[in-house]
């Protein structure tokens, strides 16, 4: 078993480096998600306001981030914008920014959808007891929207985490990029190393994403039970 491929993981600092890459991945995803979800909630609420110009602008924002592939967005922000605008940001920050803006766009649509599906009568009975617009959102609409939108939000979170695998394209040292380097450096000694390296990356993503996806499914089921019961 001297040349068994699994040993590629224990060669030198390979495993530590892989976990380091995973740390970068998680850090970018986590910061982008926190910023993106908060911004997305605000934008989603604004998208239910009657002001048409505001709604149009936010709609364009959403469509831009939804239609343009994430890879293109990353390249756009990493290569093109600095040249045109003269802003120079490290790759990790560009990645965080792109993911935060993308999350915000998707989240705004989830929040808007949940808010407008709260029955009209709820809004009216809120108004009938004298609530102003802010209070109506704060005490009546948003709490009801949250339980409607939570499963979709968790799905968005898992999608964002998965999509971080594109970060190597703008040379962020994320877990995929580190994995690639490990594979290339050890190719001679461990020809089957690629299988083990990507195998462990698979397990890492799975361990992070699967519980989230399970949680979303369970919550959706519970919500349906409540709605029908």
């Amino acid at each position: 078993m001297a040349h068994s491929g699994i040993n590629v993981l224990f060669e030198g600092r390979n495993l530590v480096r892989l976990f380091g890459g995973l740390g970068t991945t998680i850090e970018i995803a986590a910061v982008a998600l926190v910023l993106g979800l908060i911004l997305g909630i605000v934008l989603g609420v604004l998208r239910t306001f009657p002001n048409r110009l505001l709604r149009l602008l936010l709609r364009l924002y959403l469509e831009f981030f939804r239609i343009v592939p994430t890879v293109v967005l990353l390249f756009l922000f990493y290569y093109i914008l600095p040249r045109q605008l003269g802003v120079n940001m490290p790759a990790n920050e560009v990645a965080t920014l792109v993911f935060a803006l993308w999350t915000a766009a998707e989240m705004s649509d989830i929040v808007r959808g949940a808010l407008i599906s709260v029955p009209k009568h709820q809004r009216e009975s809120g108004l009938a007891i004298g609530l102003n617009r802010w209070q109506l959102y704060r005490y009546v609409l948003i709490p009801q929207a949250v339980s409607l939108e939570l499963p979709a939000t968790i799905n968005l979170v898992t999608r964002v985490i998965k999509t971080t695998s594109l970060l190597m394209l703008i040379s962020v040292m994320d877990v995929i990029n580190v994995g690639q380097q490990v594979v290339e450096a050890n190719n001679q000694k461990y020809p089957t190393g690629v299988f083990w390296v990507y195998g462990i990356i698979f397990i890492m993503y799975f361990v992070i994403d699967y519980p989230l996806s399970w949680w979303a499914k369970r919550m959706d089921k519970k919500r349906l039970e409540r709605a029908n019961g």
Binding site: E124, A128, G130, N132, Q135, Y139, P143
Partner: protein, 246 residues
């Protein structure tokens, strides 16, 4: 003479091409109960919803306590504390307990202390016989119980005028009586001024001091409650009463 609470002058409402309310004029004095009757689609609900600004109108004036309402969202929002409304579909907030449903207005809108508001709320809950339900969520209540809570929620703001929009229309027949009794008691014991849209003719006859009969967005007649049911002034109202079995 009793104090005039609300007066409506030449109110006109249309929605796109549809002219829904035509030249509506009436007033209501303190302690009076007015029933809005008429066939479906006659504009009763639209009219009552105009009276607390949930429905915009194009012409005419609503005068509340002697002051014409400038119909901005902000003005209506203030007035809604004085003009309570209960809807057909009760619409308690499902995310809040019964007590929190009731306290939301007094505490957040009127800035009463939670203790004071709670004392009022509990007194009102006692009156409708639902004190022991204060900590449950609306989904655990029956339709009739929900509607009684919705009435308490509106009363907790201590309004001067109450609007009831077909409040028993979506209830089980056996729940109807309990809700109607509460409204009658409110009229008799608390001398509450109210405008009631209903299809329950017995109930209307029992509590209405005056009846406004609407058809196609016109007020066809305004008659004393006792007179209307025995001797309506218009043929249309006569037909309407004959078509209702009660």
């Amino acid at each position: 003479m009793a104090k005039q609470i609300l007066k409506v002058e030449h109110l006109e409402k249309s929605y796109r091409e549809n002219h829904i309310l035509h030249d509506i004029n009436f007033s209501i004095d303190e302690g009076e109960v007015v029933a809005l009757l008429g066939p479906s689609g006659s504009g009763k609900s639209t009219l009552i919803r105009c009276l607390n600004g949930l429905e915009p109108y194009q012409k005419g004036n609503v005068i509340f306590n002697g002051k014409p309402v400038v119909p901005t969202e902000k003005n209506w929002q203030k007035l809604r504390q004085q003009i309570g409304m209960v809807f057909q579909s009760y619409d308690l907030f499902p995310n809040l307990t019964v007590l929190d449903n009731i306290l939301l207005g007094p505490v957040k809108v009127q800035h009463q202390s939670r203790e004071a508001a709670k004392a009022t709320a509990e007194k009102l809950l006692d009156q409708v016989g639902l004190r022991e339900y204060e900590n449950v969520y609306p989904r655990q209540l029956s339709g009739g119980q929900k509607q009684r809570i919705a009435i308490v929620r509106a009363l907790a703001l201590n309004p001067e005028l109450m609007l009831f929009d077909e409040v028993t229309a979506s209830l089980d027949p056996e729940m109807v009586r309990g809700v109607l009794n509460i409204i009658s008691k409110l009229a008799q014991d608390s001398n509450m001024t109210m405008i009631v849209v209903t299809h329950e003719m017995n109930f209307a006859q029992q509590i209405a001091d005056r009846v406004l009969f609407l058809e196609d967005g016109h007020i066809l007649e305004q008659t004393d409650g006792t007179k209307f049911f025995v001797n309506p002034q218009t043929d249309r109202a006569k037909e309407f009463l004959e078509s209702m079995d009660f």
